[in-house]
């Protein structure tokens, strides 16, 4: 226990350096901004900002990018409550009760509840990360290629389970991602694969390019299909503070949401989205006021909001300890680390304790900033919501194009982004989720590498994945997950869970 506090102290001394504080502030402000604006997700924003971080120190870059991610969770709830549009996918469930509260003239307490529940969850989740990351990293240091391969299989299976819609299509998207990840020079043989004589493809397709196309461009195109209609509750936000009755009702859901969110965030494939859905469903089951859910129950705001923030933070655990991203944002963080010359994995904690603990401490500081800044700034965010999308999307497009172009200063990356934008839009139309594909894309080369090494070590015996206990554990969990999800009864449940949003 003592070790944790001395480590956290080290982290705070790093995170509290003036420049890092500034980066944290910029990160959370940007995060809130994109969270507030519907149609601009954290994946596209972080991808957009990656090139900017080239010139920063690794710690400052990661602090800022992390701030964007959890800041977006805060901002997303503001839009959900005031406009009934989820600014982020993880605030989909917050719309249900938050918007109803706003319609009843209780937008203030709803916003305050969201902010305070998120803050509480953020504090707890920071401690959880600090407690669980070191022992996990120690275990991970013992992982061989077989264990890594199986772990990645588990991560991909989990991503499939959590995707909306058809299981088969989600698996297919993962595999498509893995294949696209293989484009470029094969590290083992030096052979250039699937490059079709295009020299720009020698280093493979940039992750940023794929993410911007599949998420950013496809999102914009899909948003332009419909004329915008928004109803903003701007006048009714007066008294912010929840009443005593509210406090009584919201503390338990906040606690439950925090812990459920933390647990779900750690799972590979987990993160904020799953956490908020899970917490809302749980609360609906256990709450005494279950009949009020969907009609403006404050529990329906507190639980998912605490859960999505907790989940957003604990999803850093697999990234920091195993070097494996649990969702698309974490995949981008890996990209950011690699750009800075840091190989993500269990060795980060021992080799670069400042970076590791500084980032964790910055999460707590960032959460504090969010509460202190955002409650007074709500008026400003509401004003932003009145900016019409026809102004917004060309601006987003400018930033995206500049970001992608600057990756290698060649038009080719923008061309690829447009290509993936088209693919992304087709996937939207065919209901194929892009998130599993992005995870596959990041993991493709890693999986191949570990598969090759594991097979070489076992002299071509595929049983190695089952003979090693840890690896076998991952495989068994993956199989169980797949079987469970394929069972018709549970399949229906899963569909219902996603329907509720």
């Amino acid at each position: 226990m003592e070790g944790i506090f001395s480590n956290l102290w080290l982290g705070f001394t790093v995170a509290a350096a003036p420049f890092n504080l500034l980066m944290c502030l910029i990160g959370v402000l940007l995060g809130t901004l994109i969270g507030v604006l519907p149609g601009v997700g954290p994946v596209a924003t972080i991808a957009m900002l990656l090139p900017i971080t080239f010139n920063l120190s690794p710690i400052a870059a990661l602090i800022m990018l992390a701030g964007i991610y959890y800041g977006a969770q805060y901002g997303g709830s503001t839009t959900a409550i005031l406009v009934n549009l989820p600014g982020e996918s993880s605030s989909v469930v917050t719309c249900l009760d938050g918007y109803q509260m706003a319609r009843q003239g209780r937008a203030g307490p709803a916003l305050a509840t969201a902010a305070l529940a998120s803050f509480f969850a953020g504090c707890v989740a920071t401690l959880i990360v600090a407690m669980f990351a070191p022992p996990l990293a120690e275990v991970a240091l013992k992982f061989g290629p077989a264990e890594y391969f199986s772990l990645m299989v588990l991560g991909l299976v989990a991503a499939v389970v959590l995707a909306h819609g058809s299981l088969l299509k989600a698996i297919a998207m993962v595999i498509l991602g893995l294949l696209l990840g293989l484009i470029g020079t094969d590290v083992n043989s030096g052979v250039l694969r699937f490059a079709f004589g295009i020299s720009e493809l020698a280093d493979g397709i940039g992750f940023v390019t794929v993410a911007m196309g599949m998420f950013g461009l496809a999102e914009i195109i899909a948003n332009l299909e419909h004329k915008e209609t928004r109803e903003v509750f701007t006048k009714k936000v007066s008294h912010l503070w929840p009443t005593r009755e509210d406090w009584k009702r919201l503390w338990q859901p906040t606690l439950r949401g925090t812990f459920l969110g933390s647990a779900l965030g750690i799972l590979p494939g987990g993160g904020a989205l799953l956490a908020s859905f899970g917490a809302y469903t749980l609360e609906k089951k256990v709450s005494r006021n279950a009949h009020e859910f969907g009609k403006g129950a404050i529990e329906g705001v507190a639980a998912p909001e605490s859960a999505n923030n907790a989940g957003a933070q604990t999803s850093f655990i697999p990234l920091l300890t195993l070097g494996i991203p649990s969702n698309a944002v974490m995949a981008l963080m890996i990209g950011a680390m690699m750009i800075q010359g840091i190989a993500p994995g269990p060795q980060v904690m021992t080799e670069r304790p400042q970076l590791f603990w500084g980032m964790i401490a910055s999460m707590w500081i960032g959460n504090l900033m969010l509460v202190v800044l955002n409650l007074p700034l709500i008026g400003m965010w509401i004003k932003l919501l009145t900016v019409p999308y026809r102004i917004l999307y060309p601006s987003i497009l400018v930033f995206m194009s500049i970001g992608v172009f600057s990756l290698s200063n060649q038009p080719f990356d923008c061309f690829l982004m447009a290509l993936f934008g088209l693919l992304g839009y087709i996937c939207v139309k065919l209901e194929c989720e892009p998130a599993p594909m992005i995870l596959g894309f990041i993991l493709g080369p890693l999986m191949e590498e570990n598969l090759r090494r594991a097979m070489l070590l076992s002299r071509g015996n595929p049983m190695t994945f089952i003979e090693k206990p840890i690896s076998a554990g991952f495989i068994i969990v993956s199989v169980i997950l797949l079987v469970i999800i394929a069972l018709p009864a549970l399949r229906k449940k899963r569909e219902e869970a996603f329907q509720e949003g």
């Binding site: 294949l179 500049i402 172009f405």
Partner: protein, 151 residues
């Protein structure tokens, strides 16, 4: 034979096409190797085969089970947004950041529902000033600001 689930039908076809392409291309151009020493063709072949198989399953599913129709494909935003990106990329060097941003903003604005000359012009000007200040002056990205013929 009737297509009952058009969404799954086309998705299945897409996966089969991608899968077969990777499988055939890998088989044709790269060495398979053995399970112990995998060549560059091994992993892509296996994955390509799996993808094609999954695509086939999705396709069969679409012929058996009733499914949703494919929502209308909106060509207007697709075309204008994609062209806007390409225009920016290929005009940046000849026309500078200023010229390429103006092109991007105008072309992308055509993809939306409303197009107001005055509004779009102001937006383009604001974006040019902002981007030059932030990206070229602030972050020192090596972009030319003005068209090449003006220098």
């Amino acid at each position: 034979m009737r297509i009952k689930g058009p969404k799954d039908f086309w998705a299945g076809l897409m996966f089969i096409a991608f899968g077969l392409f990777f499988l055939v291309w890998a088989q044709k151009h790269y060495q398979m190797g053995t399970a112990v020493r995998m060549g560059p063709g091994y992993f892509p072949s296996v994955l390509g085969g799996m993808l094609a198989l999954l695509g086939l399953l999705v396709l069969i599913d679409s012929l058996v089970e009733e499914g949703p129709k494919v929502a209308r494909f909106h060509f207007r935003p697709v075309i204008f947004i994609l062209i806007a990106c390409l225009a920016f990329a290929y005009l940046l060097k000849p026309l500078g950041l200023a010229g390429s941003i103006v092109a991007l903003v105008f072309i992308s604005a055509l993809g939306g529902y409303e197009f107001n000359w005055k509004e779009v012009s102001i937006l383009a000007a604001v974006m040019v000033i902002f981007s030059v200040l932030v990206f070229v002056k602030g972050l020192t990205l090596p972009f030319p600001i003005w068209p090449a013929f003006m220098n």
